[in-house]
């Protein structure tokens, strides 16, 4: 096995990972390990913008943003983290502008801002333009800029390396083991500090906005080390996935004035969110659309409704939403300047993840005790900024803010502790044996078939609406699929770019965390944010105002524990839009 040593090892090259790498790179020797080329990361698919109360277009301040984020999270977010997020948003946005992000501009030359769902001024009472944007390619703009800044900083990139295990011993992380796709060889990456920034996991659903790469690798790796996963049952369904496959149509389309219509041409959001209409938070809008479809008001009896932009006019659409226009034309053959867009909810974002503290340190017990040298940020982490439901434009914000904090924290840690330890004895035989097993094993099962069955089961039983029987069936289905996974045989036994092996490893991760989602969701008997049980009515703060911590035990079973939500300012109250 080839060995590499760096002060800091960052796994994942989206906005969170690259911000961390760039910041840590100011004083430390940093390596980024990514299973795809950095600019392929799914952060680049973020379209609408990045929230910060700059007040460039309308009156705003961070207190309003804080209030919206707390309410949007259905009071499950930790308010110390949320306050930090919205305050840091402002300097981080200016820093990104200084770094070169090509933001769109107001007539006087400031960063342009647009409306987005769930964001308001004056504590929910007035509209606000808070999303800082670069047309509707905001994530692309940020991702490329941070990649380029990391290159400038001298960050070392190991592209197309799939991390297969963490080197953790006695509560301290020493780095990771990764499979080099080009050669099929394992490499050990030793780091004084290691950050996981491996992104989300919505690939476990059939209808998803996510990349093929979004297989939640980091979560499963952490879970297998006995570290809990937090609030995994909270998965966001974005209201405007392009029918049928779920490719994202930016919420900016509604922010710019797009409306939702059912088969009768009725603007149905008035029934569900009378005041905020299409700009209610995503959980509310996705439930409304699903209800319309279930009650037979989908377009022509199909399971989609319409997003209509035609009244905005071609000029505004082409200036503000060029990518939406291009995507919808290419993938649905619809000219959105002339016709409505067929849309439905699509699995989009994971609110839960690896429990971390405010400095992005991974918590061994999910509460207080950090794993020395291990950090996580971005979508794979749960700090918890988003609680039970994330507001649009708070995700790239979290990635930037927490990536930045983590980068600085790791740099400080390295200064304090000195260079990476040499000669720590870490037993990597388990992962070596696992890889050898995959390559040698003969079996009848195909990974592609198991993955498809998993995606269909998650879609059916763990969607916008859930109930006990379905979730229980899902747990059984996943366990049966895990059994069958043991009998998967690879057709491809070669080493170079064995993408079949790569997909097999990713499937293992998906089966692992999907079980956690199903078990956590089955236990939570209430309706909160994105977790909506049809067999229970409403939110139950008395019993369920708490975070789930799911521990994978050595015998493979999952043990659920809970921890309190941090409330600093806003106790839970009714949430109406």
């Amino acid at each position: 096995m080839e060995h590499h040593r760096h002060d800091v090892v960052v796994v994942g090259a989206g906005i969170a990972g690259l911000y961390a790498a760039m910041k840590a790179g100011e004083s430390a020797d940093v390596a980024v390990i990514s299973k795809i080329y950095p600019t392929r990361s799914h952060s680049g698919a973020a379209q609408g913008g990045c929230a910060a109360a700059l007040g460039n277009e309308t009156e705003d301040n961070w207190e309003y943003h804080f209030y919206d984020t707390v309410r949007g999270s259905d009071y499950l977010g930790d308010q110390d983290a949320q306050e930090l997020l919205v305050k840091e948003a402002i300097p981080v946005m200016y820093e990104m502008e200084h770094l070169g992000v090509p933001f769109s501009r107001t007539p006087e030359g400031k960063i342009a801002q647009r409306r987005f769902g769930g964001h308001f001024a004056k504590f929910g009472k007035a509209p606000v333009q808070r999303a800082c944007y670069a047309a509707d390619r905001s994530g692309h703009a940020q991702l490329h800029c941070l990649y380029e800044q990391s290159l400038k900083q001298g960050v070392r990139f190991y592209n197309e390396f799939l991390v297969v295990s963490l080197m953790i011993e006695d509560g301290e992380c020493h780095g990771v083991v990764a499979l080099e796709l080009k050669t099929g060889e394992l490499h050990a990456f030793w780091g004084r500090a290691t950050m996981l920034a491996t992104g989300g996991y919505a690939r476990a659903w059939k209808v998803t906005s996510n990349s093929h790469a979004n297989t939640g690798d980091g979560l499963s790796l952490v879970s297998s080390c006995g570290i809990p996963l937090e609030d995994m049952e909270f998965v966001q369904f974005h209201p405007t996935g392009l029918y049928p496959l779920g490719v994202l149509v930016s919420e900016a389309a509604r922010g710019e004035g797009g409306i939702l219509l059912n088969k009768d041409g009725d603007r149905f959001m008035k029934k569900y969110a009378e005041a905020k209409m299409e700009l209610a938070p995503r959980d509310v809008v996705s439930r409304a659309e699903t209800t319309e479809i279930l009650e037979g008001r989908g377009i022509d009896g199909n399971d989609y409704v319409h997003l209509d932009l035609t009244h905005l006019g071609a000029a505004k659409i082409l200036e503000r939403l060029p990518q939406v226009h291009e995507l919808v034309m290419k993938f649905a053959g619809v000219d959105c300047t002339k016709e409505p867009i067929p849309i439905r909810p699509t699995a989009h974002y994971s609110m839960g993840g690896i429990p971390v503290d405010l400095n992005t340190r991974v918590l061994m017990d999910g509460r207080k005790e950090p794993v020395v040298g291990l950090y996580a940020s971005g979508e794979c982490a749960c700090v918890s900024n988003h609680g039970a439901n994330r507001l649009g434009t708070n995700s790239t914000l979290e990635a930037a803010v927490c990536g930045r904090i983590g980068g600085m924290a790791m740099a400080d840690f390295v200064k304090e502790k000195g260079p990476v330890k040499v000669g720590v004895a870490i037993d990597t035989s388990d992962v070596e044996n696992e890889m050898a097993h995959y390559m040698d094993h003969e079996g009848r099962e195909k990974a592609g078939v198991i993955r498809q069955e998993l995606q269909e089961a998650m879609q059916e039983h763990c969607g916008v609406f859930r109930e006990k029987e379905g979730l229980a069936t899902l747990v059984e289905t996943i366990r049966a699929l895990q059994e069958r996974f043991e009998h998967v045989g690879l057709e491809d036994k070669t080493k170079a770019y064995n993408t079949e092996l790569c997909e097999l490893i990713e499937l293992k991760h998906m089966l692992d965390f999907s079980e956690v989602i199903a078990v956590s969701g089955l236990a939570r008997e209430e309706c909160r944010g994105a977790h909506w049980r049809t067999d229970f009515i409403g939110r139950n703060d008395e019993e369920w105002h708490k975070h789930t911590l799911a521990f994978k035990k050595p015998d493979g079973t999952i043990e659920l524990k809970y921890k309190p939500v941090v409330i600093t300012k806003y106790p839970p109250e009714a949430r109406k839009y």
Partner: protein, 232 residues
């Protein structure tokens, strides 16, 4: 509808000779080339290797040669293609396996153009102002997804390993024409050379190949014009 795909195969561990393999795939309406490749990989032949990620034309992973033309597999619909569909790796790059090409040189050339804002410390804690008109000067330059289709299609790139290629030059233009940037002359030390701006023979293949409808040739001409005007 059942369609035939004739796919370039190269697995160096098995043979040093590439070959073509034909697969038959049931392609529903709106199936993309990537959908078909996935169907082959998942249902027929796990050994077929290619890069893919976002599957909606944003990440740039799946650029390949489809019926003789570079494009993104994820956004080309099968029903727009005629006959047996021929899938090959992008030309101009070393093939590592099947449809996967070596992108190291491509990225090294991009990095060589110093693709980051070169500017002094901003005088403000807030954003630097930039008028919408100034901001527009980089429209058509900052949207590049680095898929490599343009550089692969460039005959000048095929014959000169040192030529930076259209994608790298487009990236250089993205920063040179950003009104916040002051690094034009620093970059020109590299770009004002035979392997830089002057290797381009305005063949326009790059423009035709770009799946994002960008125009690298125009970017190169803009850089040349600026260089010329600043030399006078």
């Amino acid at each position: 509808m059942e369609r035939q795909f004739k796919i370039f195969r190269f697995i160096p561990e098995r043979s040093d000779k590439p070959y073509y393999q034909t697969y038959s795939v049931e392609c529903p309406q709106s199936f993309t080339v990537l959908d078909a490749l996935n169907a082959i990989k998942w249902e027929q032949d796990g050994s077929l290797s290619f890069r893919r990620s976002c599957r909606h034309g944003i990440c740039g992973s799946c650029a390949m040669k489809i019926n003789g033309k570079n494009g993104l597999a994820c956004e080309i619909q099968v029903n727009t293609l005629k006959g047996v569909i021929k899938i090959e790796p992008m030309p101009g790059y070393t093939v590592l396996r099947d449809l996967i090409t070596d992108m190291d040189r491509f990225l090294a050339h991009m990095e060589a153009t110093k693709p980051w804002l070169i500017a002094g410390t901003p005088e403000t804690d807030k954003e630097q102002y930039q008028s919408p008109e100034d901001r527009k000067k980089i429209d058509g330059l900052w949207e590049c997804i680095l898929c490599g289709a343009c550089t692969s299609a460039c005959p000048s790139y095929w014959t000169d390993d040192d030529f930076l290629g259209p994608a790298a030059l487009l990236k250089a233009a993205r920063y040179c024409f950003d009104t916040r940037d002051t690094g034009f002359h620093e970059r020109m030390d590299l770009l004002d050379s035979r392997s830089g701006l002057w290797r381009c023979h305005t063949i326009f293949n790059c423009v035709e190949a770009c799946p994002k409808a960008l125009n690298p040739t125009e970017a190169i001409v803009r850089l040349r014009n600026r260089l010329a005007s600043e030399k006078i």
